[in-house]
Symmetry: D3
Subunit: 241 residues, 6 copies
Amino acid sequence: MTRCDKRDVDQLREVDFELGFNRYAEGSVLVSFGATQVLCNATVEEKVPPFMRGEGRGWVTAEYAMLPRATHSRSARESVRGRIGGRTHEIQRLIGRSLRAVVDLNLLGERTIQIDCDVLQADGGTRTASITGAYVALVTALRKLQREGLLSEDPLRDSVAAVSVGIVAGVPMLDLCYEEDARADVDMNFVVTGNGKFVEVQGTAETEPFSVDQLRQLQELALAGCRRLGELQAEALGDRL
Amino acid sequence: MTRCDKRDVDQLREVDFELGFNRYAEGSVLVSFGATQVLCNATVEEKVPPFMRGEGRGWVTAEYAMLPRATHSRSARESVRGRIGGRTHEIQRLIGRSLRAVVDLNLLGERTIQIDCDVLQADGGTRTASITGAYVALVTALRKLQREGLLSEDPLRDSVAAVSVGIVAGVPMLDLCYEEDARADVDMNFVVTGNGKFVEVQGTAETEPFSVDQLRQLQELALAGCRRLGELQAEALGDRL
Amino acid sequence: MTRCDKRDVDQLREVDFELGFNRYAEGSVLVSFGATQVLCNATVEEKVPPFMRGEGRGWVTAEYAMLPRATHSRSARESVRGRIGGRTHEIQRLIGRSLRAVVDLNLLGERTIQIDCDVLQADGGTRTASITGAYVALVTALRKLQREGLLSEDPLRDSVAAVSVGIVAGVPMLDLCYEEDARADVDMNFVVTGNGKFVEVQGTAETEPFSVDQLRQLQELALAGCRRLGELQAEALGDRL
Amino acid sequence: MTRCDKRDVDQLREVDFELGFNRYAEGSVLVSFGATQVLCNATVEEKVPPFMRGEGRGWVTAEYAMLPRATHSRSARESVRGRIGGRTHEIQRLIGRSLRAVVDLNLLGERTIQIDCDVLQADGGTRTASITGAYVALVTALRKLQREGLLSEDPLRDSVAAVSVGIVAGVPMLDLCYEEDARADVDMNFVVTGNGKFVEVQGTAETEPFSVDQLRQLQELALAGCRRLGELQAEALGDRL
Amino acid sequence: MTRCDKRDVDQLREVDFELGFNRYAEGSVLVSFGATQVLCNATVEEKVPPFMRGEGRGWVTAEYAMLPRATHSRSARESVRGRIGGRTHEIQRLIGRSLRAVVDLNLLGERTIQIDCDVLQADGGTRTASITGAYVALVTALRKLQREGLLSEDPLRDSVAAVSVGIVAGVPMLDLCYEEDARADVDMNFVVTGNGKFVEVQGTAETEPFSVDQLRQLQELALAGCRRLGELQAEALGDRL
Amino acid sequence: MTRCDKRDVDQLREVDFELGFNRYAEGSVLVSFGATQVLCNATVEEKVPPFMRGEGRGWVTAEYAMLPRATHSRSARESVRGRIGGRTHEIQRLIGRSLRAVVDLNLLGERTIQIDCDVLQADGGTRTASITGAYVALVTALRKLQREGLLSEDPLRDSVAAVSVGIVAGVPMLDLCYEEDARADVDMNFVVTGNGKFVEVQGTAETEPFSVDQLRQLQELALAGCRRLGELQAEALGDRL
């Protein structure tokens, strides 16, 4: 069996970060994982949700949406249907948790960083691309706050990236495109920090339950994939590795 | 540190299945994991969702809700707020996927088993109790269909149970009550089949990311816990082990 | 014609109050009128609705819902439909009014008693069972407030109970089960105080309008039924009659 | 105490029916009970609700709404709030039931008469004026169907009218205006057929529960009031009494 | 071709303003353009929208709705559909803008004039009749404020009226009724001040795009029509011309 | 006064069409009017809205939305607010009408072309850029249908483009950027066909009503601007002019 893009089983798709895509956002990144394209815009708001007011701590949260024609066939807008679907809720909660795991909210001050992840084109892995790109947008916005003297200390504790892995036709593999994902028996997403620890682990057996040994193999693919994504994030941000 | 109910770290809370709680449902179980109580009612409907019509296959799905005063302080009804929240969506999708993993939908015929999981009282672990109880309600409904001659073959491929694990004050432990859950650094849910394979693995670092080694320890606690839940399910269903 | 449960026309179904069903609510009662089971949880909130703020008076209100499989065939959740139906609105307004009729809101202080009536199983008379059980939950909560020294005077002015009556196959009868209700020509609900006065009278001719004389007969059945319910409420609350 | 409009306790307000107010509706009546004005438009639709299809029977139903400035101070539109309130649901269900009580749905054929009651100005008694006017609009539409030969037999079994009664400052009185209604201890609505039978009886103690004797007095006022309304309806319809 | 009502191409339908239709509104006008009837009620509220608070300026806004049977066949209520449609939004924004164009909001003080335009019967031109009638209701309300000494200076800068024009069967004509509107190739609405300037110009080619020359002809018809409407408004308001 | 981008009063901003931006859509164009960027995706669906079924005619419709951070400060998603706002409705109806004006729906066959206009970045003129870009996406999709042999005749009757004009500080000017638009006294949008006829004319006096003469000047600017846009559209589509 040949993978889409003729990749090795442990190979990422071509990953790209286009910084400054939007001129207004405090941080703006168009991230690509192959044909998957997500526009991640970070907005700094000088307020926090009601339940946090007066505590002096900050908040990081995210919203996620797909353009109607991000996919092969058009899907109805959630604004038209009048409500946000379960999948959207699940993904935007995941993005928010993943980012908060690497930010010291006490050092952020009483402000919110709102990340909007809008999928312009989808070819599998939109949630992992969103997290990976949102991190870059978040760092861009934090550095802007620092340059403007609004942060005394850097609230960033580590980097974070995410990747999908899965078992397709019995073979564990990294970073599934849509076609692979559609045929996968097992589909997992790992969110991993720069120092190799887990923020989130989500695995689902689509058809066949998976064994302890398979879980271990998928975990190893994901750890290596996220390590590589971390290098690419740092490069995009102009960091010396 | 002492656990709530003075349990060992690898010990489940007292688990109970009260079958036949509701007189109308084709399968009805009030499941308790300690003070957590979930009423799981299975309804058989002789139709499938529109996207599956005419394929001859069945469907298993679930809905999840909490009574307003299932919790320490009252929370507003989702019907009053006019929409179902993100957490509810996430949980009911999880319950449905978990059950479908052990049912051969081709053998079910063109009908739907709808499981309603209504939390009467919540003390942590409502989603894992829901899955564990929903399985018992599902089996009860399937056996009723078999007794009535509506199924030629048993569509059940395996059993399924779920349990939470977590790291509290640095200690990995099984089946967290609310108070433990609120203090946990890491919170995971495992959905495991009778033969020890994973259907779902969901882990979240609430405060501190977790290591490869910690993930392994949590996994072992969960596998043992689900094995024990499987025995209790079989007993409740009157099965010879 | 024989009644369901072989009752006399002026006989209540078996009525039961299980106090303390929920461990968190300030008052919690599972009330049964035959196979009809309603969980009534009273919550004390130290605030009042906006339109009453600063007046020093309290408020008593109620919400009512049915579990999807409370009935013979499953009905869709109101949270899923995104709105509360007309029947639900009508019933919860009735429960609230009935309870407020026997509470001196000035003596309650600026707090709200919120009663949640959730029907676990329905076999006719869910609104009358709800009112009758909600009263017991309300008293339990008020007594807790008194024990805690939060009320200087007892705000309770009288007791209240409710019962359905109807004309089935030409015969006036008390406390209709679902099957009787479905066949009734006239369906009435009376909400009556302990001293035999009316709080609410609601009668509907389902098929045939009813006469002045029939109204009188139904009224007499209801007054006797509510008298008996008042005795059972007092007994459940441990009151000397 | 003097009543508004200086009426006797058993006297109706000035009642008026303006037929043909709207040029499109199959039946159209602007009914006034004093300053209360309700536009009742009857629409004939050659279909029935889904649950009745193919049974050969008809349906009569109603919707009720108030213009925002029907009242002293403006109230928000239900379309703007995005949902219909409890009171509206309650009233429109009542209007529909009241009209169906005097129509033989089998003789109506598989069609729906939809009555829209829109309150242009409100001064108490909007639901009773709506029922009383809706009956006249309904008859107008039925006669049109008969003239067009679409009905072989008259489906009307009787007439129906409604009136409010109440106890104000201890005095039972007929047809309350807004000011009286706001001060009433007891507020009742009776829906009565032409031959003096009850279709609906709804009484609420706003402040003080009421006695068996008071109920009887209110009932007598209402029966006389509806008798008079029936005469005025017949007159408006051009019927010989 | 003969126009409906046998009018000349540059002739308005019969226009009527019935002032004081509603007894509660600060300004109330039932405006008729032929068979089109719109009830325009002006409400004065001593507050402004949140975004304007504390600026000392006032606001004028409008809502528009149709009764279900304002039209030949009944249309569903927007409150029942749970949302306001696009056409309604468009029209009520237009009415608000048109009125604000002739009011000096600084002189109005920090209060809102809310105009409700409810179409009782529709025969084309409901938006232009609404604007023309709403102006009269607005002036009535402003004069009431002046009489009560709540306005030191008259905030009215000019009058405003609106009319539709269109090209039907190749012929430009004024003030289309429904039947003409349905057959029109081009449909335009002009909102014009008393001194002959444009507040709004909205033209739509329903079937055939229109030329520069046709636009000029329509503009001339509209200017003359609005001049005549201004005279009728002044007359209704009792102004000396 | 100097214009943004130092343009002449009759000069368009830099206009760009990036075809094939999205890989799935049948027609996909990222249109830029200066810093305003709108992604226009055309989807071909082999069905028509219910009210057109079986007539053999096609339909062209549009949806419009802004990403939350398309603007200087972030605005809430319409999916989160649960409803589409009035401005959105107005714009998407305008886009649909404009496109239908140049398509012969009879030649399109019973299919729908759905155009999604998603504003990635907004700097004034989003609706006119949407129409101008949507036309290019529409033509791309129609040519694809023709290449695939699904259309026997070209349903395109003409081209269409749109531009804003306005009076800023007393000066009529073409194609306003956000800053100019915010200061404009008059704001107009013209939708014009390739042969110089009007499809839509929409003008609003934001502060001062405008005269017949000013309308004429704005019209001339718009006609010239749309002529130039038509040349750029043709060039982008590879058409010989």
